[in-house]
């Protein structure tokens, strides 16, 4: 089974992170590199 084509990338804070800070935006690391949707195919591995 494959996950299919990449559609988007991003960052989302965990609920627990939001509970310990009032500024979840500051927890974001650098913006992930964009993904080439046409080429990357991923197989579920666990």
């Amino acid at each position: 089974m494959r996950l299919g084509k990449a559609k988007a990338s991003g960052y989302v804070a965990d609920v627990a992170e939001e509970e310990v800070t009032q500024e979840p935006q500051t927890l974001a690391p650098e913006v992930p590199e964009p993904v080439t949707a046409e080429r990357e195919q991923v197989t579920v591995t666990g």
């Binding site: 089974m1 494959r2 996950l3 299919g4 084509k5 990449a6 559609k7 988007a8 990338s9 991003g10 960052y11 989302v12 804070a13 965990d14 609920v15 627990a16 992170e17 974001a28 690391p29 913006v31 992930p32 590199e33 964009p34 993904v35 080439t36 949707a37 046409e38 080429r39 990357e40 991923v42 197989t43 579920v44 591995t45 666990g46």
Partner: protein
């Protein structure tokens, strides 16, 4: 731009996903966890985990052209389908909150932070719903793989723990769905449940030791 993802997303809430994982029990029987099925088979994670790349520790998962990171599927039925494969039959079907850095695919996610929310389903090798977890006969250093068993098959297997007890040994609360926590069927009358009782007693001793150590601390 051609060939690029349309945007970098910033959703407000973690994604809900479904995946398969092997249940594992620490060598001393006091801690529980999960193991991946293929690439992550040697990586043990708990109810809350951060992904690490097994090939290159210098980059943060999920890396674009690497296979690293946690995986999950958007749809429960896709995870069920994955569980039909012979090699995946001993796995638990779990529901997770996927967070951190992520790459979103058509059918699932690859991501960096995971919180296991629910143990949804397990199935005995005989086809009945799993009600307990027995020693699977395999493992990694420090951890034994557990295999779901039904009440009828439990008497033949060593080191039985209920799915509820397994969840209780995780370091953070994880709910057990009704379908994964059905009352165990009694073993056949001609087979004494000594193995089951021995395992329960061992588990009680481990918990008492843990409580004692906390009191001493």
């Amino acid at each position: 731009m051609f060939g690029r993802t349309p945007r970098n997303e910033r959703p407000e809430r973690p994604f809900t996903g479904y995946k398969l994982a092997r249940a594992v029990l620490s060598a001393d029987g006091t801690r529980a966890g999960f193991a991946g099925l293929t690439l992550g088979a040697d990586q043990i994670y708990g109810a809350v985990g951060e992904a690490a790349c097994v090939w290159n520790t210098r980059h943060a998962p999920p890396r674009k052209w690497c296979g690293c990171g946690f995986y999950c599927l958007h749809e429960l039925n896709d995870a069920r389908a994955l569980g039909c494969a012979t090699e995946n039959r001993p796995a638990l079907l779990i529901e997770v909150a996927a967070a951190g850095r992520y790459i979103r695919y058509e059918r699932g996610l690859r991501y960096s932070r995971q919180r296991v929310k629910v143990i949804r389903e397990s199935q005995c090798g005989c086809g009945r719903p799993g009600t307990g977890l027995a020693d699977g006969g395999t493992g990694v250093v420090g951890w034994r793989h557990l295999t779901p068993v039904c009440g009828r098959c439990a008497a033949d297997r060593p080191a039985i723990v209920s799915v509820e007890d397994f969840a209780g040994l995780l370091e953070a609360p994880v709910r057990v769905a009704q379908t994964a926590a059905a009352a165990p069927e009694p073993p056949p009358a001609d087979e004494p449940p000594i193995a089951v009782l021995s395992a329960e007693i061992a588990l009680l001793h481990a918990r008492l030791d843990e409580i004692q150590s906390r009191l001493d601390g």
